[in-house]
């Protein structure tokens, strides 16, 4: 009998606002994760200004790594490989993680595994429930809107994505127009449940592709606000939030459900920060029940950026020998394929 040795991946993620490290066992078991949000660091200044300075990542990274090892009671000797987000993201921030991972890989002579940020978001699901293939993954966040088809483990085919604004961003921008604080996406979701769908907004990019476009509906909301203002009419914020949310939910579900049927896939994963949106969540739960689709939405704390998801994805990359070398560079823009 062959006894499989447990594999421990040390993962590092620093693609945008958060500095995070994690140790993941066999791709699905979280041993320890530390996330240091730079927003926390600056809460003391009384603002919610996302300080994304790479300088902050530099100050945080060693602290985060130390804390991860302390929490896990492990040392570098127990680690089989080091996974790191190489992109996409803010280049200065990514570089800190990549350099830290390369340095550790070099000093301790461990394999280095470059992981795409979106792959991480998808594999966050594996920490809660083992992923079943083939599957469709809808990744929705402040920076991304992607529809990814996976035939098997670590095989990604991007079948569509946003042509302009990401879903989360459209929410935040509409919130800005409605005078809500930034980032106001979650507030729009909340308001939507208090209103009715009374405003005539267009359904965004309702075509035969799997691409999304949210810039048009954003402009439609802006125009509507201007026009009503000129007529001296007051906007009903809850109704506008509801009308906007309904269109977004409609197009997301419409294209995703069509992709499931066209690719003959029975498993759907929703990932990324906007998976926390109740309007989107509820509608997908309903539709998937009706169509006997096996739907997985990770819990909220798994939806946001953290290194645990990178460790989960990194394990499968490791199993398939997707290694990087010490020339690994951070990439600001890169499609998952």
């Amino acid at each position: 009998m062959i006894v499989m040795k447990d594999k421990y991946i040390l993962a590092i993620e620093s693609s945008c606002d958060e500095t995070s490290a994690s140790i993941i066992k066999n791709g699905h078991e979280e041993i320890a994760t530390v996330v240091l949000s730079q927003m926390d660091t600056h809460a003391a200044y009384g603002g919610v200004v996302p300080e994304i300075a790479s300088r902050m990542h530099i100050e945080n990274i060693t602290m985060v790594l130390e804390e991860t090892f302390r929490k896990s009671n492990m040392s570098m000797d127990d680690i089989d490989a080091i996974a790191v987000t190489y992109g996409p993201g803010l280049i200065g921030s990514l570089l800190i993680g990549v350099e830290a991972a390369k340095t550790l890989a070099y000093i301790y002579n461990k394999p280095l595994i470059p992981v795409h940020h979106i792959a991480g978001h998808i594999y966050a699901n594996n920490l809660e429930k083992e992923m079943t293939f083939p599957l469709m993954a809808l990744v929705i966040s402040g920076g991304h809107t992607e529809l990814i088809y996976m035939k098997e483990n670590y095989n990604f085919k991007r079948i569509g994505g946003t042509l302009d604004d990401a879903v989360g961003e459209a929410y935040d921008k509409v919130a800005r127009v409605l005078g809500l604080s930034y980032p106001g996406g979650p507030l729009v979701d909340k308001l939507a449940f208090e209103g009715e769908d009374t405003y005539d907004l267009p359904l965004p990019l309702d075509d035969a592709s799997y691409n999304f476009s949210f810039s048009g509906i954003k402009s439609a909301v802006i125009n509507l606000c201007h026009n009503e203002e000129q007529r001296g009419k007051k906007i009903n914020l809850a109704n506008l939030a509801c009308s906007f949310q309904n269109r977004v939910v409609k197009i997301l579900t419409k294209k995703t459900m069509r992709a499931l049927s066209e690719y003959n896939v029975k498993n759907l994963i929703i990932a990324g920060g906007v998976a926390a949106n109740k309007g989107i969540r509820n509608e997908f739960i309903k539709l998937c029940e009706e169509s006997a689709i096996n739907l997985t939405i990770p819990s909220i704390n798994r939806c946001t950026d953290n290194a645990a998801m990178i460790g989960a994805a990194g394990y499968y990359a490791y199993e398939l020998n997707h290694f990087g070398d010490l020339n690994l560079n951070a990439k600001a823009t890169d499609e998952l394929n």
Partner: protein
């Protein structure tokens, strides 16, 4: 003495008025905004810096799409609001930024490094980081007239950008 000082100020004020050239263009739809952007691309030079200001939905990203297309970039230009900076490879590299989220806090982000990297730099919401912008640049203000119509107010700073505007407009 006081008289002389006043005269100087007066003289100086006149010069400022002359230097601050301003061009106004009206575009009737997105296509026309893209065409204007493409005209600028054809006169490109390394380290060209274009600062875009104007409210949400006024056409800043559309303008950038026009430049990118003309630079031969095949990738879709998506909004950089979340990641602050997106980089693309074309005939010249394109550095597309949205500095809104920084709220003026540019310390250590490395924005300035992009001004001399040899690419075309487009900065949305540039007014929020005025302190670190190079003195030579092109400012474009986007104003919404109605659903489709926009007024673009172009202000070149420095000889090279004045010539650019002359060549394009």
């Amino acid at each position: 003495m006081i008289n002389k000082y006043c005269n100087n100020t007066f003289f100086f004020a006149i010069i400022i008025v002359v230097i601050m050239m301003e061009y106004k263009i009206t575009t009737r739809n997105e296509m026309e905004t893209i065409e204007i952007a493409q005209n600028f691309e054809s006169e490109k030079f390394p380290n060209m810096i274009i600062c875009l200001n104007g409210e949400l939905g006024s056409g800043k990203t559309i303008f950038t799409k026009g430049i990118a297309q003309a630079l031969g970039i095949n990738e879709t230009i998506t909004s950089p609001t979340f990641t602050i900076i997106k980089e693309y490879n074309g005939e010249l590299p394109l550095y597309h930024m949205d500095v809104y989220r920084l709220d003026g806090n540019t310390d250590g982000v490395g924005i300035e490094e992009y001004f001399t990297k040899g690419g075309v730099v487009i900065i949305e919401w540039a007014d929020t980081i005025k302190d670190i912008l190079p003195s030579e640049r092109l400012d474009i203000k986007f104003k919404i007239v109605d659903e489709n119509k926009r007024v673009l107010v172009l202000v070149p700073h420095g000889k090279i950008y004045e010539d650019l505007c002359e060549a394009v407009l």
